[in-house]
Amino acid sequence: MTIREKVGLILALAVGTLAGLGAALANSDTENTMSLPDEMGSFRIDPAGRGDLVPTQPVHVEIRGIGTFTCEPATIQTLRPDLFAAGRFSAFDVLAALGAQGAIDLVSSYDDTQATHVVKTMNGLDGWWYDVRLPGGALERTALRMDSYPMKDGAALYLYLEDPVRLAAIQTSFRDETARRAANGGKIIVPTVTIKGPRSTTSFRDVEVTSHDVRPDVFQPGSITALDVLLSLGEQGRIGGLEITWHAMLGDVENVNHYMVDWIALPEVLGEEDALCGYMDEAASEGLRPFLTPHSHSTTKIHLSSDLELLVSPEYVEWQWLCAAS
C-alpha cells in the first residue's frame, strides 16, 4: 500500500457521509470543467444544459426481514415539495409510497426537532435505517436525512435495523443541526469548515452558507447543498477559487450527472490536475464522527455527490483530497 493510499484510508476511516469520488474519475469530462470565479467574478454556476434524468425506472426496495419490492416512480409523491423539484422524490418518499400501497405496515411521522420524517415502526419493528445504492454505486452507511436523500433514476433502497447506539447518534446530530439553525435565525452557519488538501489543511470558522441553486433540476430554488459551502467561501473571499467538473459519465457508468470538485485555491492551489483525485465532502456533527462509516478511498463505486447533499446546519463540513486507486 502506498503512502498516498494509507493517507487516503486513514482519512476515510474518519468519515461517514462521503460524497462523490470514484476511480472512474479518470474518465472526466473536460468540456464540462469550469473554474470559479468566472470572468464576471461570480461563483454562480450556469445550470443550463446540465441535469439529471427524472426517475422513470421502478425503484428496487429491499427491506431486510420483510421482503423485496418495486415501486413505480409515477406512484411516488414527495412529502417534501419544499425541497424537491417536480417529479423528484426522496428515499423516504419511496417507503411512504410502499406504505400507502399496503405493501408494508409503515408508521411514520414528521419530527420537527430533527427536521425530517422518521420511521417509527415497520411491520411492528422499530429502529430502521436505510442505505441507497446509486447506479454504479455500492451500499454505504449514510447519515443523511432519509426525506432529503434524492433518489436517482435506477437507484435502489435498502432498509435494515440499525444499531440503536448509532441510530441515537444520528438522531442527536439531526436535533443539534435543527437547534443550531434556529439559534442562527434560520441561516446555515457552519462553525467549522475544513479543507484537507494534498499537502496542507486549512480551517474556516463560522461560515455562512447561502444557496447558489446548483441543482435546480433536482431541488427547489433556495435549497442549500454541501457544494454551496465552497461557493459561499469563494463569494466571501475566503478561498481564491475552485474548479469543478460536471460528470455525465464516470467510467462505464452513464447518467451520473453530478458535479465534483477538482481543486480549491486558498489562494495557492490545493489539488492538482490529477484525473484520479478530487475533493470529497463530509457534513455532520462532531458527536456522529465515531459512528461514521469506515470507507475506502479506493472504491470504484459512485456516491452521493456534494451538489445533491442538502444541508440543514451541520457542525462541521470537511473537504478531503482523496485519490481513487489507479
Binding site: 500500500m1 494509507k6 444499531d163 469506515p294
Partner: protein, 372 residues
C-alpha cells in the same frame, strides 16, 4: 562530589520539584504512547489470530473495514452468496472454509454480537465440539448474560428463536469472549440474512501455497480474498500515522523538559558562582566542575524519568482502552520501554547540562572570589 550534589539539591526544593515534574511529563507521555501502541498492535494481532484463518474471503468493498466489522460483530452490509461456499471448498489447497455471518441481536433482551457459523469454525478455533447444534457462548457474554451450558436463550432481531447453550468458551482475552456463536441457519434467520454470509474464513492444507490459493479465491465473482497478515499490516500502518503525531507531541514535551532543566541549571550556575570560585581555588579542575554540574543534571533527570514512568503507568491504567479501531486494547509493558524512557530522561539531563556545565567550568576563580 556526592555531598556537594546533595547539598545543592536541598537548596532549592521547589525548583527541583518543578524541574523533575517537567521531565516527568515528557517521559510519562512517551511511556504511555509506547505502551498503548504495543497494546493496540498486540490486540489486533490477537484478534486476527483468533479468526484462525490463513485467508479471509470477503464481499467486494473495503477489506479493512469489512474485516474490522467481522472482528467487532458489526453488520457488514455487503454479503457473499452462501451457495459460493461449496465453490470455495472445492478450490485446491482449501482445507477448511468456515462461513461467518455477524451482526447484533437481542440475546435474552440484551443487544449482543452474534456470530453464525458451522462446525468448521469449531475446528478453526479448536473448540472440541463434535457437532454445532446449539449456542456457543464467549466467556464475557456468558458472564454478562449469566449463562452456563444447558441454559436456554432467546435470540431475536428480525425473527425470534429459542436455542440451548451447548458450551461456554474459556477466556481468550479477545473479541470471541463477547460473541454468542449460533448455528449458521439460526443466525441467518435472526439477522434476516438467509442464503448470505458476511465472510468465509479459509485455512489451507499447505501454508506455503497460501498466495496461490488466495489468488484463485480472489478471482471468483463478487468476492475478494485477503490474508489476515495484510489486514494487520495495513491497520498497523494506519495506526503508525497516528502514532507519529503522538511521538511528535511526546517530543515537544521532552523538548520542554530539556529547556526547563537547562534553565534551572543556568540559574544554579549563576547562583553558585562564588562556590565554584572557591572550589576552583582549592584545586578543583575545570573538568571536575563540568562533571559536577553534568552529574547533578543527570541525577535530576533520572529522578524525573522514574517519576515519569510511575505517572505514565498510572495514566495507562486510567486512560480509556479503545484503540480507535473498535477493538479494546490493553496497554502492554516491556522492560525495553522502561529502558527507552530512562535513556531519554538521562539524555535530556545530559543535553540540558552541557551549556550550563561549560559556563560553570569557565568561571575564573579569582573573579568569582572577588564577588565574595
Amino acid at each position: 562530589m556526592n555531598w556537594i550534589l546533595r547539598a545543592n539539591l536541598k537548596r532549592r526544593k521547589a525548583r527541583l520539584a518543578l524541574t523533575i515534574g517537567g521531565i516527568a511529563i515528557g517521559v510519562a507521555t512517551l511511556f504511555a504512547l509506547l505502551s498503548f501502541s504495543a497494546g493496540i498492535a498486540t490486540a489486533l494481532e490477537r484478534e486476527l489470530d483468533s479468526l484462525g484463518a490463513h485467508i479471509i474471503v470477503l464481499p467486494v468493498g473495503c477489506p479493512y473495514s469489512l474485516t474490522l466489522s467481522l472482528m467487532q460483530g458489526a453488520d457488514t452490509i455487503e454479503y457473499i452468496d452462501e451457495a459460493s461456499l461449496a465453490e470455495f471448498r472445492a478450490v485446491d489447497n482449501v482445507h477448511i472454509a468456515a462461513p461467518a455471518v455477524v451482526g447484533r441481536a437481542k440475546v435474552n433482551g440484551t443487544l449482543t454480537p452474534v456470530y453464525g457459523t458451522d462446525i468448521q469454525t469449531a475446528l478453526l478455533k479448536n473448540w472440541e465440539l463434535d457437532s454445532f447444534e446449539g449456542a456457543v457462548v464467549g466467556s464475557k457474554a456468558a458472564a454478562d448474560l449469566k449463562l452456563s451450558a444447558g441454559d436456554t436463550i432467546n435470540v431475536s432481531l428480525y425473527a425470534p428463536v429459542t436455542i440451548p447453550v451447548v458450551k461456554v468458551l474459556p477466556v481468550t482475552g479477545g473479541r470471541d469472549d463477547t460473541f454468542v456463536f449460533l448455528p449458521l441457519a439460526i443466525a441467518q434467520k435472526v439477522l434476516a440474512l438467509e442464503g448470505k454470509v458476511s465472510a468465509v474464513l479459509v485455512r489451507t492444507s499447505d501454508v506455503s501455497r497460501v498466495s496461490e490459493t488466495r489468488s484463485t479465491l480472489g478471482h471468483m465473482l463478487g468476492v475478494q480474498a485477503v490474508p489476515p497478515s495484510e489486514v494487520f499490516d495495513t491497520l498497523v500502518g494506519i495506526l503508525a500515522t497516528v502514532r507519529q503525531t503522538m511521538i511528535l507531541i511526546a517530543g515537544i514535551a521532552i523538548a520542554v523538559g530539556v529547556f526547563t532543566t537547562m534553565n534551572t541549571m543556568i540559574m544554579s550556575v549563576q547562583e553558585r558562582r562564588r562556590d565554584i570560585g572557591l572550589l576552583r581555588a582549592v584545586g578543583a579542575t575545570r573538568r571536575e566542575v563540568f562533571r559536577l554540574f553534568l552529574y547533578e543534571s543527570v541525577v535530576v533527570s533520572a529522578v524525573g524519568g522514574l517519576v515519569g514512568l510511575a505517572v505514565g503507568y498510572v495514566a495507562t491504567l486510567l486512560l480509556p482502552r479503545a484503540s480507535g479501531l473498535g477493538l479494546e486494547a490493553l496497554p502492554q509493558y516491556s522492560p525495553a520501554f522502561i529502558g527507552i524512557c530512562l535513556v531519554v530522561a538521562v539524555a535530556v539531563g545530559a543535553i540540558a547540562a552541557l551549556y550550563p556545565a561549560m559556563m560553570a567550568a569557565r568561571v575564573e576563580p579569582i573573579r568569582a572570589l572577588r564577588e565574595l
